[in-house]
Each structure stands twice: as C-alpha cells, then as structure tokens.
C-alpha cells in the first residue's frame, strides 16, 4: 500500500493543477447532494406551493372548477381594497400583534428573571411555565373556552366570589380579542422564557461583580448589565413573536369562529375561509400574496431598526 501511494503520488501532483477545477466541481456536487433532502422538502412544501399561489392570485380559480380558471389580471387585488372583511381582519390582526408582542416579551422576561433566581424548585417552575407550550394549541383553546364560559367557567366563578357579574369574555365584541390575547400570552410566553433564560445565563458573572463594586443597585444592574446583555436574544424573540402574532389563526378559529361580529377574524383566518369554505382559491391566493408582502415589510423594518448584523 505504502509503495503504491508513493508511485501514485507523482501523477497526482502532475495533475493537480488540471484537477483543481474538477475537484471544485466535485465539492460543489457533494455539497448540494447533502443539501438535496432539505431542498427537496423545501421545494415541494414551500417554494412550489408559493409559486402556485402567486400564479393563482391572478386567476379566478374556483376549487370545484379547476379546469375553467381564467386569467383575470389584477381584479383579485383591486377587490382586496373594497373587501370590508379584509379591512376588519387587518385591523384585528394589527391590534393583536401590537398588544401581544410587548406583553408576551415582558411576561417571558419576567418569568425568566424569576426562574433565574437561586430557587429550590427551579425545575418545577420551569416545567410548569413551559408546559403550555408543549400542549397542542387546539387543546389549549378548547380548555380556555371552558374557562371563559360565562355560566360555568372557572374564571367567572372566581370573579363571582368578589361580586363581579359574569363577563361575556368570548361573546362580547369588545372583549373577545382581549381574551384571546391573554390566553395566547399564557400559552406562548413559556417558550420565549427559555430563550431569555439561556440569554441570562450567558451574561458573564464578572460584569455583575464589577457593577456591584461600582455601587450599582439591583435595578441599575438590570438596566445596565442585564438588558444590554440580552440584546441579541431580545431581537430574535421580538422578530419571532411578531411573525407568529400576525399569523394568528387557531385560537379565534376554535374559540370564537372569528366572531362575535367579526371582532376576532384575522387575516390568515379570512384567507382560510375564502379559500377552503368559499372555494375561491384565486382571491384567497391574492390575499395570501398581499399578506406575505406585509410580513416581509414588517421584517425588513424590524431589521432596519434592530441592526441586521447581529439579529
């Protein structure tokens, strides 16, 4: 073997220059072969449907007549601006996102700070706060529907102890979205709490030591050491919560069916209804395209404000 190698070495060296290019191609092929499974899945379940949706958005594709679809130009897009339901869904989604993002971040950070203390039952609390995340959102939604029930719901029973009359949490147009916000924060905050916790544990101890030597009180330490230390983590959480928030669907679908009076109808829910229940795939696709562009714009703005390089 040894001798063989020596003999073969020379021709290889001679060919080295010549092989540079083929070797690079080989590397390229190998690299993409490794990527292939992931790219295949991405292609089938993401890129291809996205392309189809883009194409359908310019047609009057009605699901029961797949072979009769016609190109109708921008008609679907112009109708979006006349569609009162779209307008309402847009408002509802914006309202939800504007409230949920800061509240959920604050709650998650609060929980993370609590758990980061030297507590005895740390693991228990961590599990308790994280458990809603593991549960199916559908199950959680159904559970909270029971909790919110005005006649027999746990929350109203408890309010009754303090002499507060039963609240129509999910059946009043003014309260339904707020009720969904509370439930969503409760369900989602556990996940961000874990990320914050990891962020907290990454902040070097000596910074706190230095701060306390400088005479900083705990609050000052929090402002000047903890928060800056969590910057990257916060940006990540901020972006992911925002995207998740604008995609709100399951909670209103299960708990209120978009009601009462459309007060919890969200953009994704509206798109789903138009596409699947009313079979108007063309118009639903157009709304989906607009929705994608909106999310894109939000993400770009967020990156601009938070600094791209580390986000």
């Amino acid at each position: 073997m040894e001798t063989n190698k020596k003999i073969n070495l020379k021709p290889i060296r001679a060919q080295k220059r010549f092989n540079m290019k083929t070797q690079k191609t080989q590397e390229f092929i190998n690299g993409y072969l490794f990527l292939l499974p992931a790219l295949l899945l991405l292609g089938v379940f993401l890129l291809y449907p996205m392309g189809m949706a883009f194409y359908y958005s310019f047609t009057d594709f009605y699901i029961l007549r797949p072979d009769q679809k016609q190109f109708i130009g921008l008609e679907n897009f112009t109708y979006i601006f006349q569609d009162a339901e779209f307008k309402q869904a847009f408002k509802n989604t914006a309202y939800f996102a504007l409230l949920v993002v800061p509240i959920q971040m604050a709650v998650a950070l609060g929980l993370a700070l609590l758990i980061n203390q030297k507590l005895k039952c740390k693991v228990f609390f961590r599990t308790a706060y994280f458990s809603p995340v593991v549960m199916s959102l559908v199950v959680v939604s159904i559970l909270w529907t029971f909790l919110y029930n005005p006649n027999e719901g746990l929350i109203n029973e408890m309010l009754g102890i303090f002499g507060i009359s039963p609240q129509p949490f999910l059946t009043s147009p003014n309260q339904a979205m707020n009720s969904i916000i509370v439930m969503s924060v409760w369900q989602g905050a556990g996940f961000q709490m874990l990320i914050f916790l990891a962020g907290l544990q990454n902040i070097p101890k000596h910074l706190y030591e230095a701060a306390s030597i400088d005479g900083a009180n705990p609050l000052q330490q929090f402002w000047n050491v903890t928060l800056p230390g969590l910057r990257n983590v916060s940006i990540f959480i901020f972006v992911t919560i925002t995207i998740a928030a604008v995609k709100l669907l399951v909670q209103p679908m299960i708990m209120t069916q978009g009601g009462p009076l459309g007060s919890t109808k969200t953009l994704v829910y509206h798109i789903y209804e138009v596409g699947f229940n009313y079979r108007d795939v063309g118009y639903a696709s157009a709304m989906a395209v607009v929705f994608t562009i909106l999310v894109l714009i939000i993400t770009i703005i967020q990156r601009k404000f938070t600094g791209e390089e580390r986000g």
Binding site: I63, L64, Q257, N277, R279
Partner: protein, 435 residues
C-alpha cells in the same frame, strides 16, 4: 458560487419535482386501471366509494351494508370503500376538494345535502333521473328529493332525514301547568311560543335552548331558517339568481327581529352549557334528533313538540346523501350501490342505529316508534313541513351570511342593516354563477 447559479439549481429542482409529481400521478392511475382491466376480465366491476366517518356505530353500519352488497353482487360488482374523516367542520369537504383538484374522485360519494347544488353545477356529480324508477322515487320524502334536485334534475339520494323539534322537560311543564301540542295543526304560533318561553324562564333556568354553543356555522342556518320560511320569506329567489329582497326582504327581517326578541327577553342563552337542556337548566330546546338520544341517556323525562311557526308551519331538514361522480366509468353499477345504500333495509337499519328519521315513507310505516309520541312529531314534520335548505352553488357563502346574521341578532344588532350587509357578500358570490 454566484447567486444566479444557486437560483438555477433551485429552479431545476422545482421543475424536477413538478415532473416527479406528474409521473407519480400517471403511474398511480395506470395501476388503478390495470387492476380494473384484470378484474374486468373476470367480469367484476370495481367501484370506489367514499363514506364519511361520524359516529362509530353509523360507520360500522355503512361498512356492514357495503359488505352485504359485495356478497350479493359477488362476481359482478365490488365496492372498495374508503372512510373519510368528518369532524363536523370542513375536513370531509377539504378531502373532497383535494380529490377533485387531483382528479381522483371516487365513483360513489357521500356529501352533505346543501352541497349537492355546488357539485351538480360544477358537473362533478351526475344526474340519476334515467336510473331511478318513478315508484322508487315516490317513496322518498319530499325534502330528500328537494335537497337532491338542481335545475330540475335529481342528483342525490339520502338514507336518512333529520329534523329539529321543540323538546320539552315534562317535569317542568307539569309544574307550570303547560300543555304541549301534539300535532302540527296545534303547533304554537310565535306569540304563544314567546309567552310560554317567558313563563318558563326563571332566575336559575332559561325557557329555551337554541344550542348557540355549536358555534357560528351550519347549525344556525339549519335550525334557524324555518323562522324565515314560516313567515312567508325565502333566503334566495326561486331562480336562484339573487338574494337581494329575499334574505333582506321584509318577511326575513321580521323573522330575524323575532329571533332577536327571544334573546332580548332573556328566554334563551347565547352561551348555554353543553347539557343545558338535559340537566334541566332550560325548559325547552330546539334540537336535532341526537338530543333525544342524549336526553334519554341523561334519564330526562322529555317530550317533543312541533317547530313553532308564524304563518305556515315549516321545519328543518337535510342530511348526508349519496351521489355519483361524472368521472365514474360504470354509472349504472354506481347507481346500484346508491340504490342499495338507500333501500328500505338500509334506511330502517340506519335510522335504528343513529336515531335519525328515515328518508322513506315506507320506513315510517314499518317503524313502530314513529307512529306514536314523541317520535310521531318528527315523522309528521319530515313528511309534512320539512323544507330543504336552498339549492344554490353559492350555498357556502349564503349559509355563512345567514349564520353571521343569526348570531348578530343574538348580540342585539339591527336586523335590516345586518342583513343588507350580508346580502352584499352573497350577491358578489352569486355573480360567479349567474354569468
């Protein structure tokens, strides 16, 4: 590696994938037809069939009947049945739509009554007039034929009917000294109904349950539409081209205002618990045949009364039905399956299993329970006052519009403006079909 190159690789992948997809489809259909051919050699026609999965006993019954069909037609026709999930929401229709777009529709399919028109209009299901005998057709109750007819052609047949009756708690009625009507002729008018409902409402009990907890959906239309019909209104014009002046016409507005008053008077709850009627927290309930089952299980002493009316007694109807795909290669064999699944034996058997009223008049004759109270009420309604929901391809939007409006009444919104608003939506959808 330039971006352009990367993009090319991506696009190539997408194209390849698309090609793969097509290949798969071709091979799968090839397999299908080759099986068909080999079987055809043996003289057996293979049919595919979809049934909906709902109650366990119901599905078992369908399977049993299909097995019996295969035995009876051994060497002739063989049904390959597929049970498709039906969650009471849209999952069954989603599956149908997916199969439709992919071109894989079964030869015989079960579908919900109000959707027959959509599928008939899109020429997905075929008319069966040439196969059904007049005598056989006569035996079906009118509402089943109404629900299955589109543009004067019959497309579907159902094995079971349904109805909504006014259930009442016998104990409470005795305490209050209220006499329950037992025939359609004696049914309560709206005013009488309102008076009784008010009398029965106390601090810890509602007079009526409308099962608003089922959520904004088909139930509201199914249960609530008779209020409009019995007041002389309609949801849609007779030729099916417009809802303007019908859904928001004066008769409909008045009916919706009546519904609104039921909530305003506090006789009915917007958020009833699941077993409000069964546990005695509501004295009456406008409920489907399944309420009889759950009330019995709860040991409640209940009775049935006919649906209250304004001018003409009307009652809800409609249920799952069978139809034949236009893609079916052997429509005659497919009709035999449909006929089998809706013949007297199937109809009676299904009614016994599900508690739903049968779809055939002859079945009513032979089933003892429907000749005496309380189920006699259900029979009288199915035979005399049942009214099918509108057969329009725009039904999905129409029913949502109705349900939204019904819910808005419960929240105390203005009837006229709510209905006008919903009419705009339905009119836009109708334009698609009126062209």
């Amino acid at each position: 590696m330039s971006r352009a190159k990367l993009f090319c690789v991506f696009m190539l992948m997408v194209v390849l994938l698309a090609a793969c997809g097509n290949n798969n489809q071709e091979t799968s259909t090839d397999e299908g037809s080759s099986v068909d051919e080999s079987q055809a050699g043996a003289g057996v026609t293979e049919l595919s069939m979809w049934i909906h999965q709902s109650g366990e006993e119901e599905t078992e019954f369908y399977k049993k009947r299909i097995e019996e069909f295969n035995e009876a037609h051994d060497g002739e026709i063989k049904i390959n049945v597929e049970v498709v999930m039906d969650d009471g929401g849209s999952s069954y229709n989603d599956s149908l739509n997916a199969a439709l777009v992919a071109g894989n529709l079964p030869d015989v399919l079960a579908l919900d009554g109000p959707f027959v028109a959509s599928y008939a209009d899109a020429e997905i299901i075929a008319p069966i007039d040439e196969y059904i005998s007049d005598e056989d057709k006569e035996d079906f109750v009118d509402s089943i034929l109404q629900q299955g007819t589109y543009n004067e052609q019959l497309y579907s047949l159902g094995a079971m009917e349904s109805s909504v009756v006014l259930y009442y708690n016998k104990e409470i009625f005795e305490e209050e000294g209220i006499e329950a009507p037992t025939t359609i002729e004696d049914a309560w008018t709206w005013d009488e109904f309102m008076a009784v409902a008010k009398q029965l409402t106390t601090d810890d009990r509602y007079g009526l349950n409308l099962f608003m907890d089922y959520g904004v959906g088909e139930w509201y239309t199914y249960m609530g539409a008779p209020f409009i019909w019995s007041n002389g209104g309609e949801l849609i014009s007779e030729d099916g081209t417009t809802v303007d002046g019908y859904l928001n016409g004066p008769e409909s507005v008045k009916a919706f205002e009546y519904v609104k008053s039921l909530f305003e008077e506090g006789v009915v709850s917007l958020t009833p618990s699941e077993t409000q009627f069964e546990s005695g927290n509501a004295a009456m309930a406008l409920g489907g045949p399944w309420i009889a089952v759950s009330a019995e299980n709860a040991g409640l002493d209940y009775g049935m009364m006919p649906y209250p009316y304004s001018e003409v007694p009307k009652s809800p109807s409609g249920s799952m039905a069978y139809a034949i795909s236009t893609q079916a290669e052997h429509p005659e064999a497919a009709y035999k399956v449909m006929q089998w699944m809706t013949n007297e034996e199937s109809v009676i058997g299904l009614s016994e299993v599900t508690g739903m009223p049968p779809a055939r008049k002859s079945a009513f004759e032979s089933m003892e329970e429907y000749n005496e109270l309380p189920k006699k009420i259900m029979r009288d309604q199915v035979v005399q006052t049942a009214h099918a929901r509108p057969t329009t391809p725009a039904y999905p939007v129409l029913t949502d519009a109705f349900a939204q409006a019904f819910h808005a009444m419960a929240l105390g919104e203005d009837a006229q403006s709510t209905l006008d608003q919903q009419v705009t939506r339905v009119e836009r959808e109708l334009r698609r079909f009126n062209q």
